[in-house]
Amino acid sequence: MLKDITIGQYFPGTSIVHKLDPRVKIIIVALFIASLFFVTNFVPYIFILAFIAGVISIAKLPVKFIIKGLKPLMFIILITFAINLFMTKGEVLVELGPLAITKEGLRQSVFMALRLVFLITGTSLLTLTTSPIALTDGIERLLSPFKRIGLPSHELAMMMTIALRFIPTLLEETDKIMKAQMARGADFESGNILSRAKNLVPLLVPLFINAFRRADELATAMEARCYRGGDGRTRLNELKFVTRDYAVLTGMTLFFAAIVSTRYIW
């Protein structure tokens, strides 16, 4: 049952979006997020929607994948929508007892809900088209200039890789321990929050002990394979900017600059 959880889902493909340097994609997503907050008008949303649709079609991502990614966050989107709908003051359209829907509220709530939807889909496009390993590689390289001020960029990336590597292993183990405890009469599903949390203790203790033992063994195995930190290390797939990466990065920077500028034009 726990195996259904997928974090940072990757949808393998061979499109240009998949092949782009992960650093370019990370930068574009950062620009995308920043520019979304500059938008004050519905018109630029058309271009953002076109951008998202464009990426989806180029990367050949199934739309239902994207919608599935929105589902867990539907609650937050709805709450944002409702708060904006009822809490914005202005010209009253409908009155429902103590609550009133205003014209400004309606506009604002739709606007904010769309912003959230764009934020989520935009960022999920990054994880959908970039393998976790490429992503951590990209982050490591982007952060490497900060090594001089003491940021352990290699160590951070290695930790992320190992965490990603062990998520499925630990989920499987949790599942196994849960079943073993259930077979001996443990109850994980009934009772109030407090008793449920208490019932999790016999699950968490062996899980943690095992995780520490795994960590110890992994460290020994890494040492046996000559791991000694990031210095002097080479990579199987070195990241390299090619013309395509420069072109996309320039194009996208201009695009988002245009989006940002709409705030000052209208």
């Binding site: 393998s131 976790p132 390993i133 890789t161 190992i162 990603l164 590597r165 499925p168 292993t169 499987e172 795994r214 063994e217 992994l218 020994t220 195995a221 890494m222 040492e223 046996a224 394979r225 000559c226 791991y227 000694r228 002097g232 290390r233 080479t234 990579r235 199987l236 797939n237 070195e238």
Partner: protein, 281 residues
């Protein structure tokens, strides 16, 4: 290195390893005054039950732990020499028991590349080594898979490829099949034999499965940190009573011959394989 020792891969000289007990902090010896020479290209098996000092010995050869007394030389390099430690570890690679806990990356080929990456080898050369290593362990078609979706035997073969990509002369296997199902065990044993025969790697296999020792060049039996028996598999397994007194089993065929002889038959006592037994009978 002098001329006489040219063929010596591992030279263990009067090695002891001490540790303090968890219970009363008394000094215990995991390995007691052990000397052992393993030649280049040899298939050497270390047998012993739990707590016999097998894993301690393996970790000392790889330089993961240093002996309390005595010296360990790998291809002439002393494991006490800190400058040589990475050379030693890439000369004598080590495969561990649990395949899950030695795979680092989220993609098979990335994991195989981990060792050579640590050694600072140029990317083009890493690519070649990764492809070759996966070919040897017959995992090429899985190179873009996620390791957690593979079977135990496949994961262990990926781990072997990861060591192979560092191009070691010698590979130490610390109970590589203990956590695998019978078919996984078979896959891994086939791979180990192939490495010894086709790639001419020196193999040190630590195990408690007697059947895996049958095809070795030499077998050592460890008990309480001491080498109690050393010789060819035929020499070792004909001493059924001694092995049993050490709490070890013998291979099934040997067991059968032993029982038959006890009943009054007169069969050669150095038979190790089913074919041999069938021929003799």
């Amino acid at each position: 290195m002098n001329e006489k020792n040219k063929n010596l891969m591992i030279d263990i000289q009067n090695v002891s390893y001490e540790y303090s007990s968890y219970i009363d902090e008394s000094i215990q010896l995991a390995v007691k005054d052990l000397s052992l020479q393993i030649e280049r290209g040899e298939f050497f098996v270390v047998l012993g039950h739990n707590g016999s000092g097998k894993s301690t010995l393996a970790k000392m050869i790889n330089g993961l732990i240093l002996p309390s007394r005595g010296e360990v030389l790998v291809n002439g390099m002393n494991t006490r020499d800190e400058d040589k430690i990475w050379d030693i570890r890439s000369t004598a690679g080590m495969v561990f028991q649990n395949p899950d806990n030695q795979i680092v990356a989220t993609i098979v080929e990335e994991d195989v590349a981990f060792g050579p990456e640590n050694l600072g080898i140029p990317p083009a050369e890493i690519r070649k080594r990764v492809d070759d290593a996966l070919e040897v362990v017959e995992m090429t078609e899985y190179k873009n898979h996620a390791p957690h979706l593979l079977s135990g035997g496949q994961k262990q073969r990926v781990a072997i490829a990861g060591i192979l990509a560092m191009e070691p002369d010698c590979i130490i296997f610390d109970e590589p099949t203990a956590m695998l199902d019978p078919s996984g065990r078979l896959e891994v044993m086939e791979t180990i034999k192939k490495l010894n025969q086709e790639k001419n790697k020196t193999i040190i296999l630590i195990t408690h499965y007697m059947d895996e020792a049958v095809e070795a060049d030499r077998v050592m039996v460890l008990n309480e940190g001491e080498s109690v028996m050393l010789g060819t598999p035929k020499d070792i397994f004909r001493q059924v009573d001694k092995l049993k007194s050490l709490g070890l089993d013998v291979p099934q065929v040997t067991e059968l011959v032993y029982e038959l002889n006890k009943e009054g038959y007169n069969i050669k006592d150095d038979i190790l394989s089913v074919e041999e037994l069938v021929d003799t009978l």
